[in-house]
């Protein structure tokens, strides 16, 4: 194919039409212009795409959060100021419990995933036979479709026919209600999240471990430090930036978890809202109850929580990287 920069192909071009404009001089001009502005020429399309799809909707959500819009976005709505925010912030039945669930879901899942992930990464760190197969096993949960994973766990945790209660029965422990229990549902969904996403933390931490230099570890060994001392005083401090990256990447997604919650408990996070996190709550307000004003207020607050926690983590990362 013809390339802008080869004189050979320019000479064989027909002298008419748009391509005909590529006489040496004109070609030089266009090519020169493109090359001089390649920074924005390359970056602009993607940025405009994302900008149009984000900025306008976000602005609109902000506007909706200040109106009493409901039923249909097209229906007339009145400007009510910060009324929605006051309603939401004083709502102790749905909003604050949802905030609590979002934070405890994310917090507990993250702690489990990072601790388990670090243990598994350390197990995999030094080469061993059969490593290939372990790596395959780690990959599978990671790529499995979350909705299908939710359905899979629904069967496994089923109180009557589920495999988990069968196993418990074998060792004489009475079956638990798991997903259908008011107190156990959230914990069960956290377990699912840990099953699916610990592998991602393992991969990130393992990449970090392999890029560590061996000298500090070696030196500590010479000085007679045992394995635990070497891990807590040498490896872990060196790994902190990577750990924080893992928490950051995983945390953003954990806060926004929707698929497995909606797939296992349906609308409103179950009949008692057992697993209703902010994302599920906002989705329900928007698409099951059409309370656009309220849902927009919830979303803006949710967004602020996400940005806030990211900012805290980035600050922390800068502190430990020094």
């Amino acid at each position: 194919m013809s390339v802008l920069t080869t004189p050979r192909s320019a000479q064989t071009q027909p002298p008419s039409g748009r391509k005909g404009a590529r006489t040496p001089g004109a070609r030089e001009n266009f090519s020169g212009w493109a090359n001089r502005h390649r920074k924005w020429l390359f970056a602009a399309p993607a940025m405009i795409f994302v900008g149009v799809l984000i900025v306008f909707p976000l602005g609109w959500t902000l506007y909706l959060s200040l109106t009493d819009s409901q039923g249909s976005v097209r229906a007339a709505s009145e400007f009510v100021g910060v009324q929605n925010y006051l309603t939401v912030l004083s709502d102790v039945e749905r909003f604050w419990p949802a905030v609590g669930r979002t934070l405890s879901f994310t917090g507990v899942a993250l702690v489990c995933e990072v601790v388990l992930g670090m243990c598994i990464a350390l197990l995999l760190w030094r080469p061993f036979r059969g490593e290939k197969w372990v790596r395959v096993a780690i990959l599978l949960p990671l790529v499995a479709t979350p909705v299908a994973v939710g359905m899979m766990w629904r069967l496994i945790f089923d109180p009557n026919i589920g495999f988990v209660n069968q196993l418990l029965g074998m060792v004489g422990i009475p079956g638990q209600p798991w997903l259908s229990g008011q107190d156990t549902a959230l914990g069960t969904t956290i377990f699912m999240d840990v099953w699916q996403w610990t592998p991602m933390v393992v991969l990130i931490l393992l990449a970090g471990l392999t890029s560590l230099s061996e000298e500090p570890d070696e030196a500590a060994r010479m000085d007679g430090a045992n394995a635990f001392q070497r891990f807590f005083f040498i490896t872990l401090p060196l790994m902190m930036p990577t750990v924080i990256v893992a928490i950051l990447l995983r945390g953003i997604d954990a806060l926004k978890t929707f698929d497995i919650l909606y797939a296992t408990k349906g609308k409103g996070g179950g009949s008692f809202h057992e697993v209703e996190t902010l994302n599920v709550y906002a989705y329900g307000l928007s698409f099951d109850y059409n309370q656009y004003g309220l849902s927009s207020a919830v979303l803006i607050l949710f967004f602020m929580i996400i940005i806030g926690s990211m900012w805290l983590l980035t600050m922390r990362k800068k502190a430990v990287s020094k």
Binding site: A43, P127, V134, L139, P241
Partner: protein, 297 residues
């Protein structure tokens, strides 16, 4: 860190002696540790694989067998569930929809994302990169209401275009993020010497950098395909009866009064198997994509 595939190579079984040889390490511990390590690894693998295996088993059982706890592992396998799901519920259409949306959105995102990532990497446009990466942070629901309103006014809801656009929104930040860390790791000298030899900057990008970035683009493309295939929330709102993707089809499966477990597990297997096969063959790309940018300071 380099995103290049070679990254995982030294750890394969064959390469072990070569890696160990130059500096023989004192073994990490005693015999007891070795036994513990093997046991722990087996436990990890079982923990990760067993649920998937259970799903596969259940998809091969009749519903009577699923309810019979005596037949957990010993039963007569049947493909009836798959036949039901695939034929009666038209899953071939959903499979095609999922594939088409994932394929087109990935391809378009690569076209938009790779040059952008290049510019952002070479000119260190960190603030611009932040704009694109913002798309990963924002909760999807907050975009869905305005999108739904605009696209339904344009009579686009229920069409492929709007689904593809929404999935590009997921794919693009991912591709930009992965490709930026890839371009960061490519030496600048290659392009510079190409320019000394008479190529324009854009020419050097097309002739030198792009061909060298095939592995990075494969990484980004495969991951974005998987994310799009697995995406549920956007399709739940924006797909119509003709464009329904597999995750939504599976979700619809449980809205009936009593759950057909065998059929549901067959459907769940149908959606996960293709993506797992892709993952098995592209393992090293997925690993490098998941860990892209994680280890630089």
């Amino acid at each position: 860190m380099t995103v290049v595939s070679e990254n995982t190579e030294p750890q394969t079984v064959a390469a072990v002696p070569a890696k160990i040889a130059p500096r023989p390490r004192k073994p990490l511990g005693t015999r007891a540790y070795k036994v513990f390590r093997v046991a722990a690894l087996v436990a990890v693998v079982l923990f990760l694989i067993a649920p998937l295996f259970w799903m596969l088993l259940a998809s091969l059982k009749t519903n009577v067998d699923i309810y019979d706890t005596g037949k957990s592992f010993l039963f007569t396998p049947t493909f009836e569930n798959y036949a039901n799901v695939l034929q009666r519920n038209n899953y071939f259409v959903f499979i095609f929809n999922s594939f088409w949306v994932a394929f087109v959105s990935t391809a378009l995102s690569l076209v938009l994302g790779v040059p952008a990532a290049y510019a952002m990497s070479r000119f260190t446009m960190h603030r611009s990169a932040l704009v694109v990466l913002m798309a990963r942070v924002i909760p999807g629901v907050s975009l869905l209401v305005p999108w739904y309103y605009v696209f339904s006014n344009l009579k686009m809801v229920g069409g492929f275009e709007v689904l593809i656009l929404s999935h590009m929104f997921v794919a693009l930040p991912l591709i930009v993020y992965i490709m930026m860390s890839y371009f960061d790791s490519l030496p600048l000298e290659l392009e510079e010497s190409a320019q000394v030899d008479g190529l324009t900057p854009i020419g050097a990008f097309r002739r030198i950098t792009l061909p060298l970035s095939v592995a990075g683009m494969a990484t980004a493309g495969i991951l974005s395909f998987i994310f799009s295939w697995n995406n549920f929330m956007f399709a739940l709102v924006l797909s119509g009866s003709k464009t329904k993707t597999l995750p939504v089809a599976i979700f619809d499966f449980v809205s009936y009064a009593s759950i057909d477990w065998g059929g549901l597990m067959a459907a769940a297997t149908v959606v996960t198997i293709p993506i797992m096969i892709i993952a098995l063959f592209t393992q090293k790309y997925i690993v490098s994509g998941m860990t892209a940018g994680a280890t630089k300071g």
